[in-house]
Amino acid sequence: MELSEFITPFFEESFEMLLQLEQDLHALHDGETAAMAARLDSVFRVVHSIKGGAGTFGFSSIAEYTRALETFLEDLRAGRQEMTPTVVQVMLESVDVLREMLVAERDGGQVGQEAVHAVLERIRRSIARESLSSDKQEEMSTAQPPVISEQPEGMRCELEAEAGDNSSLTAVRGWRIRFRPLMGFSAQGSDPLDILRDLSALGPTRSRVLDEGAPSLHDLVPRHYYLGWEIELAADVPREQVEDVFAWVMDQSELTIEPLGPSSEITVADVSEMIEGTEPLEPTEVSAALPDSPSTDHLPSTTDEAVEAVEAVEAVEAVEAVEAVEAVEAVEAVEAVEAVEAVEAVEAVEAVEAVEAVEAVEAVEAVEAVEAVEAVEAVEAVEAVEAVERLELAEVAEVVQTSPNSLATEESVLPDESMVLSEGVDRLIEELSGPLREAAERMQSFTAGVREGLAKQAERQAEVLGGLTTSVVELGAGAHRQAGQLAAAGDEAGELCTRLEQGGAAVGAVFECAEQARLDAQGLAPVLRGLDELVLQAGLLRVHVTVEAARLGEPQGKVLRGVANELRALAEQAAAQVAEGKALVRSLLAHMDDEARQLDKAKGQLDTLLPEAQAMRERIVRLKGTTDTHANAVESAATELASLEGAGPLQADWLDEAANAGRHIEAQAEGMRRIVQELGASARR
């Protein structure tokens, strides 16, 4: 069944799930707090399922959108985000947008990105309001350990029951999972973070990064996964439950799941450590509940004691019986696990064989090519034998042809010779016909089998090579595009350098102008001092005129007093204007000093930025060189693959040649049969 056949059911189920999701959200909106956690879990599951499906079918926009919703819902579930009517309203709007996106993807339409961005922005703002403060983050990280969800009560009881006296050394049941995404994992919208988060919902987990083979930052393609993970899950859950977590990504990753055996490194103490924020589990005296074995040193002295002793013995036996049953079950469980592992091992071997099969195809084809050549040689050998036989038959025919004459002349002498010859020819026909027919049939069967097998293998090889060639060509095109983008980035960086240089020069020119203006403003100081002098002299003149007016008395002095008053008014006005001029010049000078400082700072920053931009440009150029090399290598690989595809027609030619050889042998055999039959008939005549 093709993957595309699942798309229609995916859309149908998604729309049904969205209806359920809306019901849950409306219930939350109506304040049904009692079942809030269950409702939120239901909402989360729906969004998670749609995200997984969208990723599988390559609907990346839906996968990315639902991932954002999922993140938001995780905050709500963990209590990091408060559930308010506004939040519910945002979620309801997000469901509408999700439905539109699904419809658009199903019908080949498009959703307005504004609506998508608007909802995501509202969600982001909600998150930002609640969780962006650093202080608050710290408080929350201490109050609510986000890594591992709180241990389920049942699990904890079980751990405690298992703990015994040496709880810190007691092994815990669980699973060890090795998981490594393959190329194309992220293109499907899948995310290891989501997967490991889902896994931690099953129980405490401890993850370790497997970074062997991960390239350096310089060679890293950011959208591809290079890392793998080894996860220890301390939860006594069925294997299927663990597999369910990886259900969407089974075909996009390397995955092994194996039980943590009795020698597991995970202990109860480890689990306590894994459950952040919880106290270490205390050992529980399980054995204390069991009755001691009866001892001969304490024989019962009364009926009650005897009854108690019997009951104690029975209790011990019961416990032992239970333990025996558990032991059997444990053995069966181990066997079951081993059986599962054996199946997985077989599957792994099959996977390896599948890979090897592709290589084997080439080997088989080489062998078959040799066989085809040998077949041709065999045909030639048969033809040589036929030639010899034809020669021998010609001699026989000659004998047969000469025999009638001999018989005619010596009829009376050798009456039985013709009969003997006829019988000999019959035997020859009989002896030759069988092997010749058999050889022809075998050759026909052989060529038919080879042709069929080679045709199938050639078809498979062509299919595999075609897929590989397409992928490699796409890879090459991608690398070339990337190189082109890097070239454009390099050009932009170069342009940026030029602009920074120009900016630096412009700032320098402005700085010089400002300096000149400051000097010019300083040149105003002597002018202002001259004006001050003039004001002072006007004041003195007014005093002189006043004195002179007093000396002259009335009425001559009255005119002079008027002049003196005019002079005083003029002097005061001039003094006020000079003071205003001085203040202006001082302000101008201060402003210019400030401007000069800022220009100096800007110039300094430009001087720092320029070498950084130049360095970045050089790095981009280096990156482009590396990408070009990669692109050329990929292109060469594509060419080689394309040349491999051309091997198919050559094999077809060999097959045709082998088939022709078979037909030729058959025709030769038939011809020989006819010749021998004719000879026989002649001999009999």
């Binding site: 962006l132 988060r197 990064v209 991960a214 390239p215 350096s216 930052l217 890293l220 993970w229 790095r619």
Partner: protein, 93 residues
């Protein structure tokens, strides 16, 4: 405090290329103590975490120390779930 690199609000697969270039530049030219501002970071996916992990690993190899400022709960949670808290030096955040 001048940071040598500021992480954006979102770090998803589709928008990581410029960030990778910036981190590489910091790795090449930055000081021995690289200060990263993670205040703005609100959303990050697995491939974004991988980028930061490889950056921190290469920095360690080059004898440099990475200091995170304002690492939020979402970032720290992702690091712990993916087993990267130690590799990113976020254990005590």
């Amino acid at each position: 405090m001048r940071h040598h690199c500021t992480l954006p609000e979102d770090m998803f697969a589709s928008s990581l290329a410029p960030m990778a270039l910036q981190l590489e530049a910091v790795l090449l030219d930055g000081p021995e103590r690289i200060e990263i501002d993670a205040h703005a970071l609100t959303c990050i996916d697995g491939v974004g975490m991988q980028l930061l992990y490889v950056f921190a690993r290469d920095a360690r190899t080059a004898g440099k120390t990475v200091i995170w400022h304002g690492a939020g709960p979402r970032f720290v949670e992702a690091a712990k779930i993916l087993g990267m808290a130690e590799g990113l030096a976020l254990e005590n955040q």
